[in-house]
């Protein structure tokens, strides 16, 4: 670099180089600054705090090494929370992607009124998750006044003894059902956009050959759309793994720890139990769990294309 400055010719080249690049580089700097301050730095910070015994107030007292990790992984219930999160995420992903695909197919089929249907089906995406949670826990799952209890009374069907959110089995199902309602709009919209791009000739040729709808879906639509389907699966998996809002409002993680997802566990440790360092250890474990899952899942769906 120094030789560039000494020679007058290269000095000129350097100014020209800088002038050409300065504006462009400066334009990207704010974005880079935010990335560093709100993602890179917090990552360093969270790892650092997780190695101490800091509770969240006052000065940091001492470094305890991996003790917090032992406690979160051991009696802290991380593995149980992970299992709950994975069941939730798996069910949510499969059901919402399948629903989204069927809904997109109906739009593609130009069902009469498809524009209205499409607008309606995306509406839940616009609602705040807290509103969705209260709407379902208060309107649908509530004991006696809720929709399910009222309907069951009329039809003479049995209801769960402790209410729809009162035992681990029904509680988990209730949250999954709510999450499916809340998130199916995305797969529907994205898959619909992709389906519209498949050239009509493919379907016409297949129809002439006498292929049924299922055969056309199996051999034309799905293979051609696979890259987009895999994107949708990734989106739903990431959405599922970071589950917090619905759980916090609907069950608070209970009864017991039966609906405590990993996100909920982090909150409980850091804020609920007031142990910031243990909460930070849970946060690091969440990052370690989710990043490989996201990358691996992308790889898997990319390979099976």
């Amino acid at each position: 670099m120094s030789s560039l400055v000494i020679s007058p010719r290269s000095g000129l080249r350097l100014t020209r180089y800088l002038r050409r690049h300065a504006f462009a580089t400066a334009s990207v700097l704010p974005a880079v600054a935010f990335l560093v301050l709100f993602i890179a730095l917090p990552m360093v910070l969270v790892v650092g705090v997780s190695l101490t015994n800091w509770l969240g107030i006052g000065p940091i007292q001492k470094i305890v090494g991996l003790k917090n990790y032992e406690s979160v992984l051991g009696s802290g219930g991380y593995l149980a929370a992970l299992q709950i999160t994975l069941v939730y995420t798996g069910t949510l992903t499969v059901v919402s992607t399948t629903f989204g695909f069927v809904l997109a197919a109906m739009i593609h089929h130009r069902l009469r009124g498809w524009r209205f249907f499409k607008v309606s089906w995306f509406i839940p995406i616009m609602l705040p998750s807290v509103v969705i949670a209260i709407l379902w826990s208060g309107g649908v799952f509530a004991t006696s006044s809720g929709f399910l209890d009222s309907t069951s009374r009329v039809l003479g069907l049995p209801v769960p003894e402790n209410g729809w959110l009162g035992d681990s089995f029904h509680g988990q199902i209730a949250i999954i059902v709510t999450a499916i309602w809340a998130s199916t709009g995305w797969p529907m919209l994205i898959l619909s956009a992709a389906m519209e791009k498949i050239p009509k000739e493919f379907f016409e040729a297949a129809s002439i050959d006498g292929a049924t709808w299922l055969e056309r879906t199996r051999f034309i639509t799905v293979p051609l759309m696979w890259p987009v389907i895999s994107t949708v699966i990734t989106l739903q998996v990431v959405f599922g793994l970071k589950a917090f809002d619905l759980v916090y409002v609907m069950t608070g993680g209970g009864p017991g720890t039966s609906t405590t997802t990993i996100g909920m566990l982090m909150w409980q440790k850091a804020i609920g139990n007031g142990n910031f360092a243990v909460g930070s250890a849970a946060a690091v474990l969440i990052i370690i769990t989710i990043v490989p899952l996201t990358i691996l899942q992308r790889r898997l769906t990319a390979v099976s294309r």
Partner: protein, 300 residues
């Protein structure tokens, strides 16, 4: 009238065909009812008094009243049937203002930074372009929810917790990788000849971006802004941890606290939910065509 007996093969086929024809409609109608009925029910029920709601939660109100909205807006939450008897006011007017400021500020900052940076990455010579790309992709994979604790720690040291600015900065920071990559891929597909002719006319890079490229991209930019608005308005975890005081809470946090109160009548909660939902719902209904026709290829 010809009667086709069902044991004839033609009759059975026709019945099956009927079902196949009707099935998609039935499914579409059922899912439409499932998606919109709860929202209609929420607004209809919010117009009932608590005693009426308790007797009749499903039929429309006999005498619609906006008392619930008045109570939620002022924060003078009634206990049971007694209006204006709450000890801790939870004013939705304040939460509404907070959400408006935080959402508006975050959108303006995110859109400005992502448009400028995305345009430069797509079109201009950025030093260390590959490094920036790699870093943004890395940021996209990190679950930002897991970073809320250290962000709180840093903002607490800088006295940014319980402020609008603190929440705005956190929202911009956690959204930037997504917004920047989205805008970059958009500008990469933008026709280059438009810019070439502007460049010949002696337009500066910045002038070209603001006076030619951005106005031509109004449609896609509106869609991105609406999706961002939706995300910021509805965000819960960061708002919950970064805004603890009644003065700084956003609607989502205020609503969760409100609904957690043991004596809050469900009808007033419904009104508070209606207030929280209305802005995003109205925005969506105005721009529904742009949003539902958007060609969304990149990750949300």
């Amino acid at each position: 009238v010809t009667v086709v007996s069902s044991d004839e093969p033609g009759g059975a086929n026709r019945a099956v065909r009927r079902i196949i024809d009707v099935l998609p409609y039935a499914l579409a109608l059922v899912w439409t009812l499932v998606t919109i009925l709860p929202i209609i029910w929420m607004y209809v029920s919010s117009l009932k008094t608590l005693p009426e709601y308790n007797v009749n939660p499903w039929l429309p109100p006999a005498n619609p009243t906006i008392d619930n909205y008045v109570d939620a807006w002022s924060g003078q939450t009634p206990i049971g049937d007694q209006r204006g008897a709450s000890e801790i006011p939870l004013p939705f007017a304040t939460y509404f203002r907070n959400s408006l400021i935080v959402t508006g500020g975050s959108i303006v900052l995110t859109m400005t930074i992502a448009t400028l940076g995305g345009y430069a990455l797509a079109r201009l010579r950025v030093i260390g372009r590959r490094v920036v790309f790699g870093a943004m992709l890395f940021g996209l994979v990190i679950p930002t929810n897991a970073l809320v604790l250290p962000v709180w720690l840093a903002e607490d040291k800088l006295h940014l917790t319980h402020t609008h600015l603190g929440l705005i900065l956190a929202y911009v920071g956690t959204t930037i990788p997504f917004a920047l990559l989205l805008m970059t891929s958009y500008f990469q597909s933008f026709p280059a000849d438009v810019e070439d002719s502007a460049r010949v006319d002696g337009c500066s890079e910045l002038g070209m971006l603001w006076r030619i490229v951005v106005p031509m991209s109004r449609g896609p930019l509106v869609v991105v802004a609406i999706l961002l608005a939706n995300g910021f308005w509805n965000e819960f975890l960061y708002a919950l941890i970064l805004t603890g005081t009644n003065e700084s809470k956003t609607l989502a946090v205020g609503l969760a606290a409100f609904a957690g109160g043991h004596f809050t009548p469900y009808t007033v909660i419904l009104a508070a939910m209606g207030i929280s939902t209305a802005p995003v719902l109205i925005l969506y209904l105005i721009f529904q065509r742009q949003v539902t026709n958007a060609d969304i290829e990149l990750v949300r």
